[in-house]
């Protein structure tokens, strides 16, 4: 039951917040790299900064995936529980679905935002 309660508005918005965090972080890092020459040395063919931003992207994607997985668990628990048809139940399912869809959109957003990394130098 406590697991079902875990579906809050905050959790529903968490994937987007992660997207925002990613956006803010790579934009700031990029600024630091260009204005302050942070992480400009090359390692294994790429600047450290590029590696960092890729790493960050991976971490954020993992975090979004984790959120989605949690939401999926809640969903399964909801579907298995026998108070289907009750208002609470339907509402939680609604929020779980929103959270899952949000995770998909946010993941797509992160991938989209990060894709220029593959094409451009840090300070072109």
């Amino acid at each position: 039951m406590s697991r079902l309660r875990g579906m809050t508005l905050t959790r529903m918005c968490a994937p987007y917040a992660l997207w925002a965090l990613h956006f803010l972080a790579i934009y700031s890092l990029q600024g630091l790299a260009c204005a302050r020459q942070l992480g400009r040395e090359r390692v294994a063919g790429l600047e450290i900064m590029t590696w960092t931003m890729w790493g960050l992207t991976a971490v954020i994607l993992a975090a979004i995936a984790w959120q989605a997985w949690r939401a999926g668990q809640i969903r399964r628990a909801l579907l298995a529980s026998d108070d289907a048809g009750r208002a609470d139940h339907a509402r939680r399912l609604f929020m779980v679905v929103l959270c899952l869809l949000g995770a998909a959109i946010s993941a797509l957003g992160v991938v989209f935002t990060a894709s220029p990394l593959a094409m451009l130098q840090t300070c072109a």
Binding site: Q30, A90, R91, V97, G102, L108, G109, S115, P116
Partner: protein
């Protein structure tokens, strides 16, 4: 709190006898005062929102008038309708009026009128605040336009780019009128955000859980959050620029270590989300109208909610796409370009959901639907040119040409005006109780639709050929004069259309055919309100079980008009709302709100005088005005509680609920949470400004300034522990009923705050020097000052709470105000620590 919600709509024996009495009593309690005084003091949401809407349309007309002059000037090369200076002034005032005085407020007005009715509430939770917002909006707008009287009209564009708008390049008062007037008017937007968030979270009708909220309400909820995060950057930017202009600080001045691009970042950090702040409510209107006229529930309700929430977030990642030409590194541009294309996805989802609904239903082509079709056509075109503009190379090509003017009007007029008019005609029968004339309204639509397209379509061409925007003329050789003449002529057609619509609507209120209730057979709660609309909306707070209660259970209408349901009885002659759970929508509390009062208009008027004193450099007047202002707000706060309010009330036979001062989800609590969100966004923008300046400065701290020594810095920080302790132990003492101790803790907190200020500011002065020396000193002092103001406010709140405990308004059960004071202290200490770290730790490392 309550067991499974009982059904209160079944009349208890004998109740019907009292129905007339109860209605009369509701009427009396909720009525506005008579005559002009009644109008000035009214706080009821229907009354206030009507004013907002009328004022918004008045500003539309004024802004439109300005654009007519501009169009005349552009009709042919080399005309002399407006000289270049006037043209610049008109562009500025037109853009400013349309964005800040028309688009945002009018949607706020719609929300203010509709949200309570849609969620089955009697009023908004903070009626005085809404009224205050309205007066700020009106006075702010008048303040801005008074620049015409004083002959110093702002002329640096509605975006006010620095350095053009600083005191070197804009020496007069024009920019000050803009900065002060617009910020003043923006109070209304911010206030409406607080209002809408609190209303939607805690005053929905019982049974209206999250998945049953009308889509317009969802849209407004998301919009309100966007305002809470998006407006503060602009407010901060305005404040910084005004401080620079008035007191010679140096945020944007290169010679003293500032950076003009800081303005652009802060402005567009607001400016892009602004587009969606305008569009999302309009999308909410579309969702309502489409499902009613398709006569079926919205297809993909969940998807639309998803799209609204996603747009709310994603739109904050786009601001730099307005700055593609300012020399930002390519990779950064590419991030924003990618995000700009990404945001098309949620918008696309909504469009498909609307089309699917129309497809699946049996659409009914009445006037509101015509506007929806107009919206589809125009908005999709605007969206397409938007995608074109998101490509950096194409953007470079058409930057600052009329192509952008075309795109912008396609998006704004398509995305805002058409849905707005759809909504206007859709809800007109509700507000007026009458039907508009079908023929006149159809003509209005065609005039606007045809006029608009003929006026703005050619601008795509003139722009691509190279006709510059924001410039009062163009060369004959460009070969765009015929197209411009067409634009101008069509612009007038459109203007005639807009005027016709407004006349039509005004006439409807007096001459319209008396309509049937709910003429479109809509399914949502606002249509359950009788016509003419009573000031209390519902005689009994409705209970619902579905998304379209009027379709699924028409009984609801009758139930809300009887007085034997929830809150049918007005206790103690007070205006009462029913508070419900945030997610579940179960009854939780009774919220008592204010009746008509002079406070809002007096407070707004005092602010207006204060600002007038400021702009005319009569600083003594401004400082003097602080006294009545603080007095008014203290009185305002003092009259919120009710010493005699019982801790519990009977809402319906057998259902007792706490009053808000004793309830967990009290509206005051949520007002505080939202206010702190807004304030936190302001603070974050300021910290962003600090780091942005640091990033672009060659030395930090600036030459001449030193970092404060460790010892005084640490000693200054120490007293902040006191308020923190007080915020923790004060409420504990109160809950245990130890009132004296609780008061003592408030005093301790106040003392702690005072000591902090006394130690920190002088030490900072010794280290940093005057704020005018360098951008470093400017931003350090602004941060320190920002925090100091918070300490002062917290001290005021602390003292106030102590008095309230003493006078018996706050006690072990009615703890709301003590919780608020404690939370405000925690927040103040929190930002204090961050400020301290930024001021004293960061420069050592940088």
């Amino acid at each position: 709190m309550s067991p499974a919600t009982p059904d209160h709509t079944i009349p208890t024996p004998g109740d019907h006898l009292r129905h007339g009495d109860r209605l009369a009593r509701l009427e009396r309690v909720w009525a506005n005062g008579p005559g002009l005084v009644g109008q000035l003091t009214a706080v009821n949401h229907s009354t206030v929102s009507m004013r907002v809407i009328v004022t918004g349309f008045a500003f539309l007309l004024v802004g439109g008038l300005l654009s007519m002059f501009m169009r005349l000037q552009l009709a042919w090369p080399g005309l002399q309708v407006l000289d270049p200076q006037r043209y610049a002034q008109f562009v500025t005032m037109h853009g400013t009026t349309m964005m800040f005085l028309f688009a945002v407020p009018i949607m706020g007005g719609f929300a203010m009128y509709l949200v309570p009715k849609m969620i089955g509430a009697r009023d908004l939770p903070f009626p005085r605040l809404s009224s205050f917002g309205y007066w700020c909006y009106l006075f702010g707008g008048l303040f801005l336009y008074s620049s015409f009287i004083f002959g110093s009209v702002p002329d640096t564009g509605w975006f006010m780019y620095t350095p053009l708008s600083d005191s070197t390049y804009s020496p007069g008062k024009g920019a000050d009128f803009w900065l002060i007037g617009v910020t003043f008017a923006e109070i209304a937007a911010v206030v409406s955000a607080v209002e809408v968030i609190a209303a939607v979270l805690i005053t929905r009708a019982p049974g209206m859980d999250l998945r049953r909220m009308p889509l317009f309400v969802w849209a407004m909820l998301v919009t309100a959050f966007m305002i809470a995060f998006g407006f503060p950057p602009l407010i901060l930017a305005s404040i910084l620029l005004e401080i620079q202009r008035a007191f010679d600080f140096a945020f944007f001045e290169v010679a003293r270590g500032g950076d003009p691009l800081l303005w652009q970042h802060l402005f567009w950090l607001f400016g892009h989300p602004e587009v969606y702040i305008i569009f999302l409510p309009a999308a909410g209107v579309v969702s309502m109208v489409v499902s009613t006229f398709a006569r079926r529930p919205m297809v993909g309700y969940t998807w639309i909610v998803l799209a609204l929430v996603a747009t709310g977030f994603l739109s904050f990642g786009l601001w730099v796409h307005h700055m593609f030409a300012v020399g930002i590194p390519l990779l950064a541009l590419a991030f924003f370009s990618a995000a700009s294309m990404m945001v098309a996805i949620p918008t696309g989802i909504q469009i498909f959901a609307w089309l699917a609904t129309l497809w699946a239903g049996k659409p009914w082509l009445r006037v509101p639907m015509l506007y929806i079709i107009g919206f589809f056509v125009v908005f999709v075109c605007g969206g397409l040119t938007g995608v074109m503009l998101a490509f950096v190379p194409f953007n470079w090509q058409v930057h600052d040409t009329h192509f952008v003017v075309a795109h912008l009007h396609y998006v704004l007029i398509g995305g805002l005006m058409f849905p707005l008019f759809a909504g206007l005609y859709y809800w007109l029968p509700l507000a007026s109780g009458r039907m508009p004339s079908e023929s006149l309204s159809r003509s209005g639509f065609w005039l606007v639709f045809i006029g608009f397209n003929l006026a703005f379509l050619p601008m795509h061409l003139t722009g691509m050929v190279g006709m510059p925007r924001r410039v009062d003329s163009y060369a004959m050789e460009l070969g765009v004069h015929w197209l411009n003449l067409l634009s101008t002529a069509a612009g007038f057609v459109m203007a005639v259309g807009v005027v016709a619509i407004l006349i039509d609507v005004a006439l409807c209120f007096v001459l319209g055919r008396r309509g049937v209730e709910n003429p479109w057979q809509a399914g949502t709660l606002e249509w359950a309100v009788p016509s003419p609309v009573p000031t209390y909306n519902f005689a009994s707070v409705p209970q619902i079980e579905s998304r379209y209660p009027l379709w699924d259970n028409p009984e609801v209408v009758a139930a809300t008009r009887r007085t034997d349901g929830l809150l049918g009885e007005a206790h103690d002659d007070r205006r009462e709302l029913l508070g419900t759970g945030i997610q579940s929508g179960r009854p939780e509390q009774v919220i008592r709100v204010s009746t008509s009062t002079w406070l809002p208009i007096l407070a707004a008027f005092t602010i207006a005088i204060l600002l007038a004193g400021f702009i005319s450099s009569q600083y003594w007047l401004s400082i003097l005005m602080l006294v009545p202002l603080i007095g008014l707000f203290l009185h305002w706060a003092w009259t919120t509680g009710d010493r005699h309010a019982p801790a519990e009330l009977e809402v319906a036979p057998g259902l007792r609920l706490p009053t808000q001062a004793a309830a967990r989800n009290a509206p005051g609590w949520w007002a505080l949470v939202v206010t702190l969100l807004i304030d936190g966004s302001l603070f974050a923008s300021l910290v962003f400004a600090y780091f942005y300046l640091w990033l672009n400065a060659p030395v930090w701290p600036a030459v001449g300034a030193t970092v404060m020594a460790w010892r005084p810095a640490l000693v200054a920080l120490a007293p902040l522990v006191l308020p923190l302790l007080a915020a923790w132990l004060g409420p504990v003492a109160l809950a245990a009923g130890r009132l004296r101790t609780a008061i003592a803790w408030q005093v301790v907190a106040v003392v702690g705050g005072a000591v902090y200020l006394g130690l920190h500011l002088p030490a900072l002065w010794a280290a940093v020097g005057a704020p005018q020396v360098h951008a470093y000193a400017s931003v350090v002092w602004t941060l320190a000052g920002f925090h100091a103001v918070h300490i002062l406010v917290a001290m005021l709140i602390g003292g106030f709470t102590a008095m309230r405990i003493r006078c018996g308004y706050v006690d072990g059960v009615r703890r709301l105000e003590s919780r608020i004071a404690a939370a405000f202290w925690r927040y103040t200490v929190g930002i204090g620590v961050v400020t301290w770290a930024v001021l004293h730790l960061f420069p050592r490392w940088a």
